[in-house]
Amino acid sequence: MTIHPTSPQFKENAHAALGDRELQRALGHVRQAFIAKRAAAAEALPEFEALRDSARDIKAHTLKHLDLYIEAWEEKVTAAGGHVHFARDAEEARKAVLDICRRVGARTVTKGKSMISEEIGLNAAIEAAGLVPVETDLGEYIVQLRGEVPSHIIAPAVHLTRDQVEADFRRHHVHLDADRDISTHHSLQAEARGILRERFLAADVGITGANFLVAETGTSVIVTNEGNGDLTQLLPRVHVVLASIEKLVPTLEDVGQLLRVLARSATGQEMSVYTTLSTGPRRPEDPDGPDEYHVVLIDNGRSSMLGTSFEEMLRCIRCGACMNHCPVYHSVGGHAYGWIYPGPMGAVLTPALIGVETAGHLPNASTFCGRCESVCPVRIPLPKLMRHWREREFERHLQPATVRSGLTFWGWFATRPKLYRAATGLAMRALHVAGGARGRFASLPFAKGWTDFRDMPAPQGGTFQSQWKAKRGRPGTAA
């Protein structure tokens, strides 16, 4: 029931995205705003680079001892009156959630933004069970209205323009007076808020994700900017937290360190507007809170990354900085990647979760420019890990035969320097002549991917090595 990946059609998806004028307009925002804001936030905090080291170390340490921290955390959750449900895969996770909903007789379920919920295809399962899932994050709400998945892990509707959202609201909010102005961000928000208020109050179960699970206290932590997470988890009778295993951190102090890099990396804020810590259900002396508190702890492929080079990917705290800074994401947006997680983090994580034979384009569609790694708050070597996926593909002969034979042909020459010199000397002279006086090619049959869009500069003639050898022979020019 999880969404069917279109990652094998990445090129077709990218082609469509590049031709989508509304999408290209919307992506202009990503190319500018996120980057400037993060840079300013990092600049304003002298210890930011040191905090990134510390954030990396906290997550790396936790992953090394994940079994111990999960045990300690479970004990604390249980002691606080909460319930932990372990789910090996998406199906077990969906079942755990639906079992809770059925047992409490739920009809309506509100949801805070949760990428793991998208990963396990929860909304479709909730609907199939006859319940109504209501996304309460504005972006996620819009995406749900449109029957889409988020195109960005922190800004789900970043692929849309305001005009498109207005049209969606007019289509779905049938009560809307045609004369009412909802053409501004503010009026759109007010309209969504009016609808969602009723849903918050009506909900029987509230489902949120978690940014962190704290082993020391059994606490789950969420950060939001809209406050929808608080209403989702405080108003219904039952609060269900969905979290994947790598959300564990040892202590609240660690959470403090990670929060200092999270919002700065994501949106350039010092802190998100709301940071909410939940420990167990409502206690008798609490003014509010749910009667039941559940955590569904989901593996879904992650434990197989532990102990491999891909373990580093599990440090990810889902800030989105990598995609905000990615030239490929800037060109095509998130949906082209064809599954749940886009951008550089998706290019590494997706093959681990759905298989490199399905998601092979993702780690290949990168220039390895390294800008993602340069802004990652937990210093994940994303290009290196994408390269590791390419190595797995090479080992398993998954690349197209033409790519592989071209590479073999080139490698054969490159490892035979004398032959290489002779062959390239001839080839470059021929290409130089073919390039003629224009000094470039408008079309080359073996590099159409290049020449369909730009010219190929022609070589100058003889190779450097042959000219160098010739010059050295003459007196006065030897070095």
């Binding site: 060109s331 390895f368 420019c369 800008r371 490159a414 004398k418 590099a447 070589p459 100058q460």
Partner: protein, 264 residues
């Protein structure tokens, strides 16, 4: 360090033995960049030699073929044994040797030692001139407005940023202007440019937009891969912005036609 101010004219040493890793693209497509690099190194007081070579191995490395890459790397390690420094007119190839060769031999202690030893004495050309040889000015003239594009590997893996701008600032008649987003990739990415041509094109379109927007008449960078990509896009668009390797400008060696321009 009082002597450093005059380093470009009176080097402290005249016997620094440098092996030039010319890079496959310069070797095959634009030998004039290699000769400009030789001139700059010699002017800085280096004795330059060019051992027989092919490529640094990036096409294989980035395609996931570690075995071929290791064979090529071992070849480079052998060819450049014994030089005091190894210099490449490319941030990308220098970073390959400096940052990635050691990773290739993580399981082979002897080769790892040799890879690390080579990495320690390998440099990108302009940062080598500025940081190692103490070159503070060049003896060159170039009439016009120039903008510099930061190649990704040089910038992020080797910290090459200020050195080329500083030296370009000493070229007589040259007016250096900054483009927007110089730290953003041009979309080349080696085989990426051919395998994902349409995507690569959309990235280079944004890049040339910033170049044209800067008002510069000439774009320079330290990597021929980026330069061929940007030059190819500019000429396809019918732009008159000229494209050159930074070494050509710094060496005052602009006899060759700009990249992708008609021969003259």
């Amino acid at each position: 360090m009082d002597g450093r101010a005059a380093a470009s004219r009176k080097p402290l040493r005249r016997d620094v033995r440098v092996g030039l890793f010319v890079t496959c693209l310069v070797d095959l497509f634009r030998p004039s960049v290699g000769f400009a690099a030789v001139k700059l190194l010699q002017d800085a007081g280096c004795i330059v030699e060019v051992p027989t070579q092919t490529c640094c191995g990036q096409p294989a490395y980035n395609s996931g073929d570690r075995a071929t890459t290791a064979t090529i790397a071992a070849q480079v390690i052998d060819a450049f044994a014994g030089f005091e420094h190894v210099v490449a007119p490319s941030g990308s190839c220098a970073a390959m040797i400096k940052r990635h060769y050691p990773e290739l031999f993580a399981d082979d202690p002897e080769m790892l030692r040799r890879a690390e030893e080579l990495a320690a004495r390998t440099h990108e050309l302009v940062s080598f001139l500025a940081d190692v040889m103490g070159v503070e000015r060049v003896d060159a003239a170039f009439d016009g407005t120039v903008t510099y594009h930061d190649g990704c590997s040089g910038l992020r893996e080797l910290g090459v940023r200020d050195q080329p701008r500083r030296l370009l600032g000493t070229v007589r008649g040259l007016d250096l202007v900054e483009s927007a987003n110089t730290d953003v990739c041009c979309g080349f990415g080696g085989t990426f440019a051919v395998k994902y041509g349409e995507l690569s094109n959309s990235i280079v379109e944004r890049k040339v937009g910033t170049v044209v927007g800067s008002g510069a008449r000439t774009l320079v960078a330290g990597d021929l891969g980026c330069l061929m990509n940007i030059a190819g896009k500019l000429s396809r668009m019918g732009s008159h912005v000229e494209v050159r390797h930074v070494a050509e400008i710094l060496a005052g060696d602009t006899e060759a036609a700009p990249i992708g321009s008609p021969t003259r």
